[in-house]
Amino acid sequence: MAKISILSGKGGTGKTFASTNLVRVLPNATYIDCDIEEPNGRIFLNPIIEDISDVYTKVPLIDDNRCERCGICSKVCRFGALINLGREILILDHLCHSCEACYEMCPMNAITMANRKIGEISTGVSRGIDFIEGRLNPGEPSGVPIIKQINILIKSIELSIVDSPPGTSCSVVNTIEDSDLCILVTEPTPFGLHDLKLAVELVKEMDIPMAVIINKSGSDNQIIYNYCMKNDIKVLMEIPYDKKIAELYSRGTLIAEADSTYEKMFVDLAEKILELIENEAAGNSEW
């Protein structure tokens, strides 16, 4: 069992590009799209979806016959999701964090927790590659419940390549939790470096081994190398700045399938990654 998470401090650096091509060349790997607000892996892998299951969070449901309108539930809710109107308690589903404090504290046992759909998880196959995708409904405040559910699935998957959400927030923390390796995709610009630093800080804090891929590599790679050297982070791959990549990407085509040079680059990357994970498992963290 191994979990490899691909992330970047910011979106649009080639995270999905790297993950989809990597999964293409890795035997027995499963592609997992945890970029639940903008899951794009599907466009490149074209999976046949076999199953869609809804993801729910829990929200309180008040039984009017039992409720005495005492207002305790609305007092204990720290998220403003229950508003005491006197005659009734108004429930604002979108603000609820499913903490169940209201349910626990209601003196009349008038509250039950009911399911509310916030998104779905699709599973399928793309030419031999297992595919899992989480998708959050627009406007939902948090996709963490979807990510947690996917994490349960990951536990029984041989090799997971996880396309993580952008940024450094709690949904990223939940996505990369328990990873064996984090791969940070960056670009050799001051922007890339700035965002890379944020991501490194987070991964360090979570104590997960990491390595870097430079996308749109070119004459300015040194700024990334300098930083990585100083922080003891290995650079696994340089993806050149190539119009062909942009063009294939815009059409939703995998370059590892369309071009043998790139295929080889990703095969090399896959080998390096597997080696890193083995070393890590063997307790050799000197890399």
């Binding site: 964090h97 406007g139 959400p165 990223v172 922007f191």
Partner: protein, 282 residues
């Protein structure tokens, strides 16, 4: 005062380049960098810090061990598995307070913790407000709201507040666009970009403000660009700008300069033209 938010569904579409160019056009404005997970407008705007304040955006549980008898009730009631071996994991604690209500010895208190920093910078002809969410923290939506409040309070009756929005379609995006006069959606003509754009437009439509679209790198895939155009037409959304792929943009970024410093570049001219259109139709 008018507020325009620039969003893109996904990062890396040229949003920052466009925001910086618009900043250079305007004489009296406050820029608000609302991508609080990776604020980088200032790399180009190069402002001078004039003010910084901590943002305490979240309460988490804190156990007073001198009063605790290690009964473990708090651990059992927490729905987020945030307490383990009678220790609170600050990343997992949602701040719901249930443990404080259930602790028989009243040994748990909620305390405010810092979740980010808000900074104000002096830039050419205005100010820039930005924030950085602490790594792994949540509540970026709240921080976005704080940045916008700061942006409104800091300027001397600015004519414009330009908001550089975060990626995605979640809570921070909604916080960035709620109450603005218009939203400019920047999209690159790729299949994934087109899909992201549609999702973000659905969210904006829900909130109900005026939308403009700008297609960046318009010529990298004409077919997708055409599809975006037809989509916008069918939804009654004006395409305010079509920026051609321009090497000058990459050169400018490499030198961490705004495209406005390359003011004879096609990209800059098109952004100026687009801005005139937006100003007129907003």
């Amino acid at each position: 005062m008018k507020q325009l938010a620039i969003v893109s569904g996904k990062g890396g579409t040229g949003k920052t380049t466009i925001a910086t160019a618009i900043s250079s056009i305007l004489n009296n404005k406050v820029m608000a960098d609302c991508d609080v997970e990776a604020a980088d407008l200032n790399i180009l705007l190069k402002g001078k810090k004039i003010k910084a304040s901590n943002f305490k955006g979240k309460e988490i549980a804190a156990i007073e061990y001198s009063e605790c008898n290690y009964c473990g009730i708090c651990e059992d009631v927490c729905r987020f598995d945030a307490i383990k071996d009678i220790k609170v994991n600050p990343y997992k604690c949602e701040g719901c307070g249930l443990c404080t209500l259930k602790c028989p010895l009243d040994a748990i208190k909620m305390k405010w913790v810092e979740t980010g920093e808000i900074v104000v910078l002096e830039i050419e002809n205005g100010q820039l407000c930005e924030a950085q969410l602490s790594p792994g923290a949540d509540g970026s939506g709240k921080l976005v709201t704080e940045v916008r409040k700061m942006a409104i309070s800091i300027g001397e009756e600015p004519e414009w507040i330009i908001i550089d929005g975060p990626p995605g379609i979640g809570c921070p995006v909604i916080a960035s666009i709620t109450g603005v006069d218009a939203v400019l959606v920047v999209v690159e003509p790729t299949l994934s970009g087109f899909e992201d754009m549609q999702r973000v437009i659905d969210v904006i439509k829900d909130i109900g403000c005026k939308i403009f679209v700008c297609i960046n790198k318009w010529d990298i895939n004409f077919r997708v660009s055409q599809n975006i155009m037809s989509f916008c037409e069918s939804r009654g959304i004006p395409v305010a700008g079509k920026i051609y792929y321009d090497e000058q943009v990459i050169n400018a970024l490499k030198e961490t300069k705004g495209i406005s410093e390359f003011n004879d570049s096609d990209a800059y001219k098109e952004i100026v033209r687009m801005w005139e259109y937006i100003e007129k139709h907003i």
